[in-house]
């Protein structure tokens, strides 16, 4: 057996399905797919073909990196169910990151935003590993003001509900960088999504 560490990355917290395959610190392939309301059906088959195309067996994986929200409640649960199940079944290392972090750009100060509905946004601000503002829900007015006050920050995520024409993909390299800097999840069974909205 080789010492290569293969990893599978995924996030379905937003309208896009992000999946990527990496080998050691290199991204072999990544996809940002748009499947409105079909992530539940297509995540596993897409993972299957991604692995097949790259001739990697699921059992050769060493680790999984997953975005665990915030975002669409259902979407967050889809990637989490798949990631947790693979890690549990095959006894892989599991790394969980905030989905807003997953959409951030590792190499530039980033404001990351998703639509949280009802005039609100999921919001966070990162500079590399530094979290300038943790994930939270803010009013759209606050988000717009913050953007205006920080013209040097790159805008990431989906900002169309703010009237801005920004809808970025996940940058696989950044995602992997963030994943690599996380502690592995010890209690895989007990891992919970980040919702930021209580019931």
């Amino acid at each position: 057996m080789s010492n290569d560490r293969y990893g599978l990355l995924m996030d379905t917290s937003n309208i896009k399905m992000f999946i990527a395959l990496c080998k050691n610190k290199e991204i072999l392939v990544s996809k940002n797919l748009l499947f409105p309301r079909k992530q539940d059906e297509l995540l596993v088959p897409e993972i299957k073909s991604l692995l097949l195309e790259n001739e990697v067996n699921v059992k050769d994986l060493s680790f999984i990196g997953v975005g665990i929200g915030p975002g669409s409640f259902t979407g967050v649960r889809i990637a989490m169910a798949v990631a947790k199940t693979i890690a549990f079944a095959l006894n892989l290392e599991l790394f969980a990151i905030d989905s807003l972090m997953g959409y951030s750009n590792f190499n530039a100060p980033s404001i990351v935003i998703f639509n949280a509905r009802s005039g609100r946004s999921y919001f966070a601000c990162f500079d590399g590993l530094k979290s300038l503002m943790n994930s939270r829900i803010v009013s759209n007015e606050f988000a717009l003001k913050f953007i205006e006050d920080h013209p040097n920050y790159v805008l990431r995520g989906d900002l169309r509900h703010l009237g801005l024409d920004v809808d970025t993909d996940v940058d696989a390299k950044s995602f992997l960088n963030y994943v690599s800097n996380q502690e592995r999840v010890i209690d895989i069974k007990g891992l919970k999504p980040i919702y930021l909205k209580d019931l």
Partner: protein, 483 residues
């Protein structure tokens, strides 16, 4: 004639029958009784006709192989397929136990017996010379059994996360994590909370199910999940886990209809005999389903509005009873009398039922009594409600059972645990030619063992889904093979 023969697992109560049958056998009664009482490897089956013991089968299971010690049918009752039927019952048990081969010896001169075994797929292996005490040779016969698949099923359609591992009718584990307590403060199931609890609990439940069954995921032959009907977000959690496992281990993925699961919970207590009437009564569904064969569902009647269980829950709520209300009403009704006059719902001349008129009437009645400051006798009202609601249902059950001349009535779904429904139907059908079954209490509510049981039949017919399958919160049972 086979119809009137009663087959049963022998117990010490059958001692007299053993003595009667043993007189024609190479075995002493005490040897057979020892097998029944003390030998953990032995299984003894008996057949009775009009109270008279007519046949016996004694076989041993040691790990994955089985030996037939005795198979005997009284002269008078031969050529009635009694032996074949005894063997059929044995095959089912052997499948439960994961047995792969059956072996036996038969006297060389006993051609009819040998022919039976050959017909049953046994192969002649060799001759054992001077095998019997009188010097006769024995023919040694062996049959290989196709072992039943090990199925892992996931149920997450509502407020229970359940995972079960089964082999044929043997439930190796059936772990249920109930969320009832968490939903109580909302007075009913809150869909988003249900989904959240499913994703939090599902791997604990999976781990527990595997440990309890002493099975590893690699050994599972197929992964089944509830595809619908149910709460979409809740169903999705079970879907993704089942799909991921089917993908990792490259095994069939089997979508199962939740109500078909409830019906098949009864198969843990009886063989199904067709045509049968399945009375599916739960918090989400009320359907009368005729089955003429396995997996052949025809809906002949259903609720035109509320499900009966839903109606129970809503009436319970207006009476300030805790959730889930069905259980509380059942309990309270026992202390009451049907003194309240309630309207009897009338739908139509067909077999549909309706409960919303009754529900509305009670809500209005309670509200107006509260407004007038009059006291409500909750027990009497619960009793009155239950009598009317169940009458609406059972009247249709009687009619359908007659029209379709059914052999069995299977009650299924959460409301099958209702004690008054059980009592009414038992009064009607005990000592009739129709067999009435309720699932064991542990399998009345939502559970994955029932999903696994239905999945077994789907597995046999290779009704599998590809990995891009989804869920369907409004899936019709008649579309059970469309996804």
């Amino acid at each position: 004639m086979l119809e009137e023969i009663k087959f049963k697992k022998a117990t010490m109560e059958d001692e007299e029958a053993i003595y009667e049958l043993a007189s024609s056998l190479d075995y002493t009664p005490s040897a057979i009784l020892n097998d029944i009482e003390k030998n953990v490897f032995a299984h003894v089956e008996l057949a009775y006709f009009e109270g008279v013991p007519i046949a016996i089968l004694d076989y041993w299971i040691t790990f994955d192989s089985s030996t037939i010690a005795i198979i005997y049918v009284s002269n008078k009752y031969r050529r009635n397929n009694v032996a074949t039927h005894l063997l059929k019952r044995m095959y089912e048990t052997l499948k439960d136990e994961g047995v792969k081969t059956i072996a036996l010896e038969v006297r060389k001169s006993n051609t009819p017996a040998k022919n039976l075994y050959i017909k049953e797929g046994f192969k002649e292996i060799n001759i054992k010379e001077n095998y019997y005490a009188d010097g006769e040779d024995a023919i040694y016969l062996v049959k290989n059994l196709e072992s039943a698949p090990l199925i892992l099923a996931i149920e997450s359609s509502c407020d229970e996360t359940s995972i079960s591992i089964t082999r044929n009718r043997k439930i190796l584990s059936n772990v249920i994590s109930s969320q009832i307590e968490r939903h109580r403060k909302f007075g009913g199931v809150m869909p988003e909370l249900a989904s959240r609890l499913h994703i939090e609990n599902v791997l604990y439940v999976l781990d527990a199910a595997l440990k309890e069954a002493s099975v590893m995921l690699e050994e599972i032959d197929a992964f089944a999940y509830t595809r619908g009907p149910g709460l979409v977000g809740a169903l999705l959690v079970g879907l993704e886990v089942a799909k991921t496992l089917a993908f990792i281990y490259n095994k069939p993925l089997i979508p199962v209809h939740h109500l078909a699961g409830h019906i098949y919970a009864n198969e843990y207590v009886t063989d199904l005999k067709f045509p049968l009437l399945a009375v599916v009564v739960s918090g989400g569904n009320t359907e009368l389903i005729i089955m003429k064969d396995h997996l052949d569902y025809q809906i002949v009647g259903r609720t035109v509005d509320d499900a009966i269980g839903e109606c129970y829950d809503k009436v319970a709520r207006v009476l300030d009873l805790p959730y889930p209300g069905g259980v509380e009403i059942d309990r309270l009704a026992k202390q009451g009398k049907p003194t309240y006059h309630l309207p009897i719902p009338h739908v139509s001349s067909n077999y549909d039922v309706s409960f919303s008129g009754l529900k509305t009437h009670i809500i209005n009645l309670v509200n107006s009594l509260k407004m007038k400051g009059e006291e409500i006798n909750k027990a009497d009202l619960a009793c009155s409600f239950q009598e009317v609601a169940l009458k609406e249902l059972v009247d249709k059950v009687y009619q359908v059972a007659d029209e379709y001349d059914v052999k069995q009535i299977l009650v299924a779904g959460g409301v099958s645990a209702n004690s008054r429904l059980k009592e009414i139907l038992k009064n009607k059908y005990d000592n009739s030619h129709i067999e009435l079954f309720f699932p064991p209490l542990s399998l009345c509510g939502d559970n994955a063992a029932m999903i696994a049981r239905n999945a077994y039949h789907l597995y046999e017919r290779k009704i599998f889904a590809s990995l891009d399958v989804g869920v369907d919160p409004n899936w019709e049972i008649t579309d059970f093979n469309k996804f």
